[in-house]
Symmetry: C2
Subunit: 433 residues, 2 copies
C-alpha cells in the first residue's frame, strides 16, 4: 500500500457536507492514521458557489459543476451528498465508470439504482460505500456485509425513520394524537413541511430494499415493498397497547420464508415493552437482525443529523481509502438476486383490531361470526366503555392469514351495528405467544 | 486477489470449535463466496484425539499437538479456541511470527498479551482477528475499528458478562437474592461451578481492556481496571431502584476525561429503565458507545454460546481470508498508547447509599453531618420501614468525589446507631440529572 494523499471531491455542502468538511479539517491527522494516508478535500460542488457557508473552510474551492469536479483527473474519491436520483445518479455512475471510489448517503439513489451501481462498481473495480444511506450513524450495513459474512440472516426489522419514531413515541408518552405529534415534530425540525415520504413509509421502504440486498441477497425495487404508514395510528391504540405492555413502532421488515420467498413490508407494529426495539425512542433508529448462528442482534443509534451522518460517511471514506491504496473489500458483492417475493395473500400475523360499535346485544356474536366464516381465530376480545355510542371492541387474533382477516373485516365493517373498523395493528412476529 | 483455497487449522474442539467445523462444512459455498475462495479445514488439535465428537466431520484429522498443526507449512489461517494464556499464547505468537493469519476468541490472551500480539502481527504482516473475544456474536470490535474510524470515541459502557446480567435480571424480575439467582444460573449452565471470574468482574475487566484499546487507543493491563462485582447487590436494592424506575446492570466502562486521562472500571450501576442498556436482559450482552460525531450507539446480541461465538469467528475468518488474498485491513493498528489512568481519588459519581440504622431520633442528623463534613451533597433521603430495627435509610448523593463519599461512609459506619452501610450503587453518568 502506498501512502500518497488521496484527493476527495465533495458534492453537496448541506448539513452533512459541511460537518464532513469541518471534521476532515479538524481531525485530519487521526483520520490519515486510520486511512493509511491523508484525505485531501480538493473541491466542493454546490448550487450557489458565492453563498457564505459558516463552518466550511474558506480555502475550499467551490464549483457549480458536480460532474466536472467528480471527473477531474486528480480526484480519487467522490463523496455524493447532493440527494435526488437525477443529476446525482448521473454523476455517481460516471464516477464509478471512471474507476473512482464513491461514497454516498443517498438512500433514494442506492435503493432505486442498486443494480446498475453495483454492476458499475464491479466492472470498474471501483469501491462504493453507502453506510450513511440507511440508519445514519449506525454501522449496520458493514456489520451485515462483513461481520455476518459467515452467517445466514433470516430476518431484519428496522426502525429506520426517525420522524415516525419521534411521532409514535410522543403519542405514547404524552398521549398526543397523530396530528399534534406531527405538528410538534415539524416545529422541532424532526419532520418536513410535507411529511408524506416519512409518515407514509416511503423513506423506510427505500432503506428496507438496501437492507434486504445486503442481509438477504435479495434485490427488489422500493415499489415492491408493501407499505402502510402511521397516519392511521390513534392515540387510543397506543393507550390500549400500553395496558397490555405493548408499544407501537413503524418497522421495516425483510424476511425469508421457509420456501425461500422474500417478504418486504413496512407497517406500524405492536412490540412488547420489554423488547429492545421498544427501547428505541424519539428520533433514534435501530436495526434488529436475526441470524442463524449469531441469533438476535440489534444496532442502535442516531438515524439522521449532520454530524452523525458525517460520521458514517467518514467511516466509509476510511474504508474506501484503504481499498484505493491496494486493499480488498469495499466493492459491493454483486451477489443479489432478483427477489422472489411472497404472495401477499399468504402473509400471516397476529393482529389487534379495534371496532367502534353500537352498544347493543348481538354485536359481538355478529362480528365473531364474520371472523369464524373466514377461519380467523380470536384470542381475546375486550369491550372498552359501556352505555356509550359507540363503544370500542378490541379483538386480538391468533396468527392468521392477513387476506382472510381482510375479508372478515370487510364483512364486519358492513354490519349495521358497526360504525367503523378503527384500526388494525400487527404484532411483531417474535413476540407472538 | 487469487482464489486458491485457504487452509485453516482449528485449535480446540469445544462448543465453539465444533459449531465452527459444522458451519464451515454446512455453509462452505456461501462462505467461499464471501471469503473470495474456499476455506478448507485441514486439521484440528484437541487434548484427546481419540474421543468421539458428535457434529464434527469424521474426516477431520485430529492431532494432540497444536503447535505442530499451527506451524504446518501449508496452513494459512490458525483459529485458536483452546483458551488460557499459556500454551495458547505460545502457539498464537509462533503462528503470527511465521506470518500466518490468526483468529482467536481468547479474551484472556488478547487482554493480557495485546502489546506483543499486535506488534508481532504488524512486524510479520499477519492478520489477527479477535471479534469473538468480546461480547460473543456482537460485531462491536469491527464497528469500533472500521466504521467509527473517522470518529472520536469518548466513552464505552458494556454489558459484557452474560452470567452477571442473567443473575441481575433474575433478581430484578423474580425478586431473588444473589445466591438464589446464582444457583439458578448454575443449574441452567449460565454460570460456572466456580463463578468468581464472572461475578467478581474479572471477565468483564479483560473484555474492557480490549474495548479500551480499540475505542480509545488506550493500552492497559486487566489488573489496572478498578473492579467491583455483583456479590454485594441485594434484592432490596433492586426493589428500591425499581420504585424510582432504575435497574442495575454490571457495566464495564472506559472513558477519556477532559484531561486525556483514561478511566477503566467495572461495577454494578443504576441505569434508568428507559435507557437502551436496561433493555438488555438475561444472558444477552451490549456495548454502548458515545462518539463525538456519531453520538450514542449500541450494539446488542448474544455474548456467549457455541453458535453465536462461531458466527463471530466466521466473520473474522472471512475478513482475514480477504486479507491473506492480498487485501487490506485485519491487521490491528499498533496505535495504542500506554494509558494514562485517572487518579481513582478524583472519580466522581452520583451514588445511591443504603444504610441500616436504629429507628431513633438524631440518626439522620448524624449521617447528614458526616456527609456534610466531607462535602458530599445529598439530593434525597428516604426512610423505608418504621418502628423496626433496623430501618433502612436510602440516600442519593449529587455528583461527588467518590473518595469523599468513602471517607464520609467510613464515619457513617462508625456511628453507634448505624448497623451497616448495606450497599452503594453508582448511577450511570449519562443518566444523571
Amino acid at each position: 500500500m502506498n501512502n500518497r494523499p488521496l484527493k476527495v471531491a465533495l458534492l453537496g455542502l448541506g448539513n452533512v457536507g459541511a460537518a464532513l468538511a469541518s471534521e476532515l479539517q479538524r481531525r485530519g491527522d487521526a483520520i490519515a492514521d486510520r486511512a493509511g494516508g491523508r484525505l485531501e478535500l480538493v473541491g466542493a460542488a454546490v448550487r450557489d458557489p458565492a453563498r457564505a457557508r459558516p463552518g466550511v473552510p474558506e480555502s475550499l474551492g467551490k464549483s457549480a459543476d458536480p460532474m466536472a469536479l467528480a471527473l477531474r483527473e486528480d480526484v480519487d474519491i467522490v463523496v455524493e451528498l447532493m440527494g435526488g436520483t437525477g443529476l446525482a445518479g448521473e454523476v455517481v455512475r460516471a464516477a464509478l465508470a471512471a474507476g473512482k471510489a464513491v461514497v454516498t448517503a443517498n438512500k433514494a439513489l442506492v435503493a432505486s439504482d442498486a443494480d446498475r451501481l453495483f454492476a458499475l462498481a464491479k466492472a470498474h473495480d471501483a469501491p462504493l460505500g453507502f453506510e450513511a444511506a440507511v440508519a445514519g450513524a449506525i454501522p449496520a450495513l458493514r456489520a451485515l456485509e462483513v461481520s455476518l459474512a459467515g452467517d445466514r440472516i433470516r430476518r431484519v426489522a428496522g426502525i429506520v425513520n426517525g420522524t415516525c419514531n419521534y411521532i409514535l413515541t410522543r403519542m405514547e408518552v404524552a398521549g398526543l394524537d397523530f396530528d399534534a405529534a406531527l405538528g410538534e415534530a415539524q416545529r422541532l425540525g424532526f419532520a418536513e413541511a410535507d411529511p408524506s415520504s416519512d409518515v407514509d413509509g416511503e423513506d423506510a421502504a427505500y432503506k428496507l430494499t438496501i437492507l434486504a440486498r445486503l442481509a438477504l441477497g435479495a434485490a427488489a425495487a422500493p415499489e415492491a415493498v408493501s407499505r402502510e404508514g402511521i397516519r392511521g395510528v390513534r392515540a387510543e391504540d397506543l393507550r390500549r397497547a400500553a395496558e397490555v405492555d405493548l408499544v407501537v413502532r413503524l418497522l421495516a421488515i425483510a424476511e425469508r420464508g421457509d420456501d425461500g420467498a422474500i417478504d418486504l413490508r413496512v407497517h406500524p407494529t405492536l412490540v412488547p415493552k420489554e423488547h429492545p426495539l421498544a427501547a428505541v425512542r424519539g428520533a433514534m433508529n435501530a436495526v434488529w437482525v436475526e441470524a442463524e448462528a449469531a441469533g438476535p442482534l440489534m444496532f442502535y443509534g442516531a438515524g439522521a443529523g449532520g454530524l452523525p451522518t458525517a460520521s458514517a460517511v467518514l467511516g466509509d471514506l476510511v474504508a474506501v481509502a484503504q481499498r484505493v491504496r491496494g486493499g480488498a473489500g469495499a466493492v459491493p458483492r454483486a451477489g443479489s438476486e432478483a427477489a422472489k417475493l411472497v404472495d401477499p395473500g399468504a402473509r400471516q400475523a397476529s393482529v389487534h383490531v379495534a371496532c367502534l360499535v353500537a352498544d347493543e346485544p348481538g354485536v359481538l356474536a355478529a362480528i365473531a361470526g364474520a371472523f369464524a366464516r373466514h377461519g380467523v381465530s380470536v384470542e381475546s376480545c375486550v369491550q372498552h366503555g359501556r352505555h356509550a355510542d359507540p363503544v370500542e371492541l378490541v379483538f386480538v387474533t391468533h396468527r392468521c392469514r392477513e387476506a382472510a382477516l381482510d375479508a372478515a373485516l370487510a364483512e364486519v365493517g358492513a354490519l349495521p351495528a358497526v360504525r367503523e373498523v378503527a384500526s388494525r395493528l400487527r404484532v411483531q412476529p417474535d413476540a407472538e405467544g
